[in-house]
Symmetry: C2
Subunit: 205 residues, 2 copies
């Protein structure tokens, strides 16, 4: 079984790369169906689940337990439930034995026993802002500065999520096998390179 | 003309990767001949040139000019001459028009107008220590701690060298197109993957 995990900075084109890479390799691709499955399992609205898993909860969460004993509020309880259900679902995918690509969700950590190829996708801020604007015209009302802040916030949530699963290291090259810079590069044009790398990488194992 | 620059952490196997990659792609490979040419040009001993270019000079150098006006000593003068001669030689290589791989020496910055594929090679410290021991048995007398310190010193010299050529950014993934983790991986086994990536990368241009 061959598994590729894609971690990525918001706006770097990581999701598009994951989907296209899966298509190029003939692998399954997991993304939206994870949200659906998690939402069904814990009877919460899909949009709420997606938003909570995407944005996480305030950074203080990951530290509050260490300092004082406090009862987590409903948002925290839900977030914890979501993460556990998501982790379970991702583990279940791997048990099917098919080759697949999965984007985000801490899959590199959750699936480490399966020795996936872990890729990190990143880009310069200017390039990420440009990509966000092309992808989501509703963000046109944001200034570059606001968009940059949003990008950093989303990435900060991803870093916290990783902290909950393992030690620090989100976005640090040491946490991945391969890191790919998508600055000023079309994702489509990168696919043959990444697919070729992935094929040889699995061959050597 | 296709140019690949390899920057690397000491002990990560970057030089071996560069040589093998050049062989696999049928590219020229530049390494030792740069030292020879630089030494001849400024009439200094090759070993001295190699050592100075490899180890750099104390970190204070890069800051001393900014603070007080001081006459550089002979070591600093020689280092500066070496860097300039090396930069000249690397530019001359590119003018030949052949495809080549070059390891280290700030070639990613010096050759940026030629739009090279810039790769960074890194690994976990334990892996680098192991590789150093296999490669240079004379380092057997060093403890792991001493070897780790040596590795960090060499890398720090490389970072200073980059600072002299451009802004900071040595070893930061943002400075490269592709970063490859060689922890617990034989360099030889990586070559088909990297060669395949490089071939497709140049094709898309």
């Amino acid at each position: 079984m061959k598994i590729i995990t894609i971690s990525r900075e918001f706006g770097s084109g990581g999701r598009e790369l994951g989907k296209r890479l899966a298509d190029a390799l003939g692998f399954a691709y997991y993304d939206r169906e994870i949200i659906t499955a998690v939402a069904q399992k814990i009877s919460l609205d899909e949009d709420y689940v997606e938003k909570t898993l995407e944005n996480g909860i305030p950074r203080s969460f990951s530290f509050s337990f260490g300092r004082t004993f406090s009862f987590p509020d409903v948002a925290q309880q839900n977030y914890t439930k979501l993460l556990i259900a998501q982790q379970q679902f991702i583990s279940d995918i791997a048990k099917k034995g098919e080759n697949f690509v999965i984007v985000g969700r801490g899959a590199d950590v959750i699936l480490e026993d399966y020795e996936p190829l872990n890729i990190f996708i990143y880009a310069q801020m200017e390039s990420k802002i440009k990509r966000c604007r092309e992808r989501a015209p509703e963000e046109e009302s944001l200034t570059d500065r606001e968009l940059s802040r949003k990008i950093k916030q989303v990435d900060s949530g991803r870093a916290v999520h990783r902290q909950l699963l393992t030690k620090d290291g989100w976005g640090e090259k040491e946490s991945y096998h391969l890191c790919i810079n998508t600055t000023d590069t079309s994702i489509k044009s990168l696919i043959p390179s990444v697919a070729a790398f992935a094929n040889s990488w699995f061959d050597k194992k």
